[in-house]
């Protein structure tokens, strides 16, 4: 297992990032695949991966590799780190009434 760290910026996560965090927080101990996560939060891969990169950079996410079958590439798995769990636990108070989840996917996610 590896913990992705290295905080770069402390900008507030977008509504999409929060939806990813909440999906991960539903079962914090469970490792999740990227594609399954994208399906669950109804997000395109082009939006999900920049979010995962940003969350990992902020130390909110843990990532590990699952070895693939013979000749197949390994898969990346994600779950919340301890900091991520704390962050999500603090979310309702901090973000309630301030940010409504947005339906549209934003390219700006990728510019962080």
């Amino acid at each position: 297992m590896s913990r992705v760290s290295g905080v770069r910026r402390n900008r507030a996560p977008s509504a999409q990032a929060i939806s990813v965090l909440r999906a991960l927080a539903a079962d914090p101990s469970r490792w999740r695949y990227g594609y399954d996560l994208a399906t669950e939060v109804h997000m395109k891969s082009g939006s999900l991966y920049p979010i995962l990169v940003r969350l990992a950079d902020r130390g909110l996410l843990e990532a590990t590799w699952e070895p693939g079958p013979e000749g197949r590439p390994p898969r990346h798995l994600y779950r919340l780190s301890a900091a991520g769990r704390e962050y999500v636990a603090a979310l309702p108070a901090a973000r309630a009434g301030r940010t409504a989840p947005r339906l549209h996917l934003r390219w700006s996610e990728a510019s962080y």
Partner: protein
């Protein structure tokens, strides 16, 4: 003509050699267009984010439906294209795009100023020019993001451009005139690009780095010299070096504008990239003949990079690629399990070798014919 034949043959040989070195996909590995697209895009990621490219490829590999694979690959490729860090690469790409836009703008200005007309042929030429400039800008933006390519590539481009300008005495008139110094052509078309390719290889430590440096040098020098040439044409018009006195100013300017496209955007790029490519390969081969480089130390710490390094250190694992190229196509050197049978591999290799020999023979024949012609 002779140089063009040799350069085109060089490209064909390089492409065939490249195919020879690529093993067919293992039966268990996906090798369709979405995988190749994503493999290419993942290679654009910065070194510290290369693992995210591997993560995307790992997910794509588990998808079966064709439409699903396409959607996932396109989304991830778009994400890889815009993921940071861009930084100086964005500034350099922006500068090259500005040079391309300036070249296009000056081309239009010269057309209007010298009354070159706007018939159907003009629009066709304008479309071709725009396609060239767009290709240059896109290629530059891709190469600038490759790890370690920007510095040697841009420095190489500057070197190539300065060499051409130095031979023309840094004057518009001599730049537009034919080169008369006998050693200038071999120097500019062979020696200078060879220095760029060799320098890129020595700086980057691999043939791939040298090839990228040569390609970026070709693109940046081509754009820069095209802009310089169009400025020269716009400033001098039909002046400067003598032209056929029976021709009009408009036809002389039209001819010179066309020459800039052929010289800077076609010939210069072809020569610099091809010769630089060959020089990079030769330099890497010579370096390999020397003492073996030290093995890279495994990454330490809790990050995903260290996890990948630990995986790579395990017995039987595939070696990590050192040039930040994430490819969905296994190479022979990767030792990927589950390869094709040996007989089929031999047949495939024979076909490509025959193709290689035929290309070289055709190139020699064409070069000989072009040499015989007065």
């Amino acid at each position: 003509m002779f140089v063009l034949v040799v350069l085109l043959a060089g490209i064909a040989v390089a492409l065939i050699r490249r195919r020879l070195q690529v093993a067919p996909a293992a039966p268990t590995a996906r090798d369709d267009t979405p995988a190749r697209l994503l493999g290419w895009a993942a290679g654009l990621l910065a070194a510290e984010q290369a693992e995210w490219g591997q993560a995307m490829l790992g997910e794509l590999d588990r998808l079966d439906a064709r439409a699903q694979r396409w959607r996932f690959a396109i989304g991830c490729a778009a994400a890889a294209l815009v993921l940071p860090p861009w930084g100086r690469a964005a500034a350099a790409a922006g500068a090259l795009a500005a040079v391309a836009a300036g070249g296009a703008g000056l081309f239009a200005y010269a057309h209007i100023r010298y009354g070159l007309g706007a018939d159907a042929g003009t629009w066709v030429w304008a479309a071709i020019l725009l396609a060239f400039l767009a290709d240059y800008t896109l290629t530059a933006s891709v190469l600038l993001r490759r790890s370690g390519a920007a510095g040697p590539g841009l420095a190489g481009g500057l070197f190539v451009a300065v060499a051409w300008l130095a031979v023309s005495g840094f004057t518009f008139a001599r730049f537009l005139a034919p080169i008369t110094w006998p050693w200038a052509r071999p120097l500019l078309l062979i020696a200078v690009p060879a220095v760029v390719g060799a320098g890129g290889t020595l700086r980057g430590g691999s043939a791939a780095a040298g090839r990228r440096a040569a390609r970026l040098a070709a693109v940046s020098a081509g754009l820069g010299l095209y802009l310089y040439g169009v400025i020269a044409v716009a400033a001098l018009g039909a002046g400067g070096p003598p032209h056929d006195e029976f021709r009009t100013v408009a036809s002389a300017v039209d001819d010179r504008l066309g020459n800039q496209v052929v010289f800077a955007l076609v010939l210069l790029r072809l020569a610099t990239a091809t010769v630089g490519w060959a020089a990079a390969a030769a330099t890497a081969r010579l370096r390999r003949a020397g003492p073996a480089p030290a093995l890279p130390l495994p990454a330490r710490g809790p990050g995903p990079a260290s996890a990948a390094a630990r995986r790579a250190a395990q017995p039987g694992s595939r070696p990590a690629r050192q040039d930040n190229l994430v490819s969905a196509r296994p190479h022979r050197s990767d030792g990927a399990p589950g390869g094709i049978p040996a007989a089929a591999a031999r047949r495939r290799r024979t076909v490509y070798l025959l193709l290689l020999c035929a290309t070289v023979a055709a190139a020699v024949l064409l070069a000989f014919i072009s040499w015989l012609r007065p």
